[in-house]
Symmetry: C2
Subunit: 438 residues, 2 copies
């Protein structure tokens, strides 16, 4: 009962009071709208899953960061850190009976528990979109297109963002062609993954000592990875059948994206490999062009995951796009809508005996789908107008005893300030507002 009992929210979690929730809804609505345009259907799973769903297939990097605990029944469980294993689990039960390809999306809240770094969030919302049951690059292109189209829908252009695209099969074929043994591929992938953050000398050393490349080959490889385009790959390794096949796929992929109107958003970049172990083909990450922010979105093909968690062996491709970095970028570019209240109608009564009429008019105008407010107790006219203004009311109906006696009320258009008398009968039919626009 005492005032000193103030409770705090847990570190790393966000509250969403209405002004924050409006921003979240703005992003969610765009994600849902664009998902629907591409024919994806929404699904959801539980926020808690058995721990083993993740320990089985993910790299150590995730398992160490799980928001895991033991429940009262001694079961090892965790708050979901990503959605793809749940997708694989849900499809595992039902995919055989479903027409392919399966186009699903979801907007889950995901959780990580890392040693607390100042201000680091332990949760975020992530738009997940997946196509399951289609192995061709047409599906990969459709997946990147839906991600880019949502960002475009939110107001970002090709001047703001770029999708860096690569193919893990292409990198694998290049390494094989360079004589790197399959056992050393993971090490080489890690060097490529870190090439933008790691000192060049250290990368060269790892390629030489860890992957058995000569110094000259390692130099050439690093240069190709860092700045090479498709033509360079073709010139240097085009004669290798594995490389040639992956190059053809990459060209087809880019061609489809161009025809979908997204050519200016994409850039071939061998440095993109995606950290997680389960990707098997084309991969991508979307960044702001100036690289002021972390990646906005990442995804790619993962053809073996469903089988891994016990389902039908099905090819799959998809992505995750979080709400945090995206909202930072939209804020930076001034692309978030104004937070505002937007009541349609506020009912003002000049004397208390008119409150029954207030309730009656509230009912009929709400039935018309309008957002209608009124004072919940008898209050001064001044206070009622102040509330109407706070609520952003577009119209106010003023009920005064003299007007009501004459069978009318005053309708004020709050933007223009113009007023007009309207018959009560018209207002009681839920009409009489639109004609009074300023």
């Amino acid at each position: 009962m005492a005032k000193d009992k103030a409770f705090a929210r847990l570190p790393g979690f966000r509250d969403f009071p209405p002004e924050e929730l409006q921003i979240r809804s703005h992003v969610f609505e765009s994600w849902r709208r664009i998902s629907r345009r591409y024919g994806f259907q929404e699904y959801d799973g539980p926020p808690l899953e058995a721990l083993e769903l993740y320990t089985e297939k993910s790299g150590e990097e995730i398992v160490g960061q799980l928001y895991a605990f033991e429940d009262k029944g001694g079961r090892e469980i965790t708050l979901r850190p990503e959605m793809t294993p749940s997708l694989a689990r849900i499809l595992g039960e039902r995919s055989r009976a479903m027409p392919k390809p399966i186009r699903w999306f979801t907007l889950p809240q995901l959780f990580r528990y890392e040693r607390q770094q100042r201000g680091r969030l332990r949760e975020h919302f992530q738009w997940n979109v997946d196509i399951v049951g289609e192995a061709g690059v047409g599906a990969d292109a459709e997946i990147l297109a839906v991600a880019l189209d949502a960002l475009r829908d939110l107001g970002l252009s090709q001047d703001d963002i770029v999708a860096r695209v690569s193919d893990r099969r292409l990198l694998t074929a290049i390494l094989t062609s360079l004589g790197v043994s399959p056992e050393a591929h993971p090490e080489a992938f890690e060097v490529v993954d870190k090439v933008e953050r790691e000192e060049r000398g250290k990368s060269l050393l790892r390629l030489r000592d860890g992957c058995g490349m000569s110094g000259a080959k390692a130099e050439d490889f690093l240069s190709l990875v860092g700045t090479g385009g498709l033509e360079d790959v073709h010139r240097l390794f085009g004669q290798d059948p594995g490389v040639a096949e992956a190059l053809t796929d990459m060209r087809d992929y880019q061609e489809v994206l161009r025809r979908l109107g997204l050519g200016d958003f994409i850039q071939f970049d061998l440095r993109i490999v995606r950290g997680l172990a389960y990707y098997t083909g084309i991969v991508f990450e979307i960044f702001d062009r100036d690289r002021e922010f972390r990646a906005i979105c990442g995804g790619g093909r993962y053809d073996r995951l469903l089988e891994l968690v016990g389902g039908e062996p099905l090819p799959a491709t998809g992505f995750g796009m979080g709400d945090v970095v995206l909202t930072e970028l939209l804020t930076d570019r001034g692309l978030l809508p104004d937070v505002s209240r937007d009541a349609d109608l506020y009912l003002v009564s000049i004397s208390p005996e008119l409150r029954p009429l207030v309730h009656e008019l509230a009912r009929v105008h709400r039935e018309k789908g309008r957002r209608v407010l009124y004072s919940l107790r008898s209050q001064s006219v001044k206070k009622q107008f102040s509330s109407a203004s706070t609520e952003g009311a577009r119209w106010v109906i003023i009920l005064g005893p003299d007007e009501v006696k004459r069978g009318v009320a005053v309708v004020r258009d709050m933007a223009s300030g113009t007023e007009a008398e309207v018959a009560l009968q018209v207002l009681k039919a839920g009409e009489g507002l639109e004609g009074n626009e300023g």
Copy 2:
């Protein structure tokens, strides 16, 4: 990698594949639509909270059912079992600066961990609506009205459901008038709360032994609680000032609800007290008329809760409505919409070289906001039409080499089966479909 590695979801949790999610969305959309009509703003909080937020104010009944655990940092936390404490916590930080009354709603997923009973869910979604900062019955009426209007919006009528309403202050005043000491009120409230499930003899015994009532008084009291209307309360206890005041409020409350068009949905019923300890005034529960299901919704006034968790002392009233019982009732009454796919357009190409045109048309028609699908690889025309049908496409554009050479394509209206040739130029402008309705 092996097939025998099938993972299961945790007991008590639900997956929402698209056909289930469509039903959930149908209910959520109604909840959001009606909240907006009444001027409520959406908010959200974290699914995890500190354990002490609940141990402080809730009865033992909740604490024993918390989905609680210790996190890796040794902190005692729990998945939220209800939303009101989070609301109180969030408002505690900010309510002083906010105009009153505060009208907020939210749609959280809530969690309980009870000893597993067969089929008992450990999570559900619950629509929470609250008015904070208004002590009068106008707020109580508005709260019940928004709940009933959403149920009406979902297709339920006064023949399907009833809101049983009471006032804890009224019951308290009756008990005081009967000479029951304040210390014995909780016991009397519990008897009233259980009167529909408990054997009458046992209730009488508890009233006599636990509350100090004479046998005759206990009989009269139980009869009044069970079948008494407002007139009976007035006749028997109307001379008591506390009873008289609560009766006036109850009449005003019902009058406002009648004017809001909801008179046929409400019924005075002294048996409704709500189990939770923090209610302080008018309370209600909504049931199906036939009482085949558990309560659909419950709520009431809780004027001391915000202060209890460290905030500004503010009167408040609100309710929670879960998705599980409501969906059972809607299913029983045949009020759920058909689950279906509803693509606007499926693009069929008769030969592979026309696929670039497919992509181009997909782009422009999606930009018009349509839900557009096409085969992600070259497939037979038969297979493409089968997919168009699976996706529930309203229109199909058929691209054939001869037609394209003549600058046209065939548009088929899938409902009527009628076909018409339309100029490619028109289709490339995102037009040419509406005119072809059957």
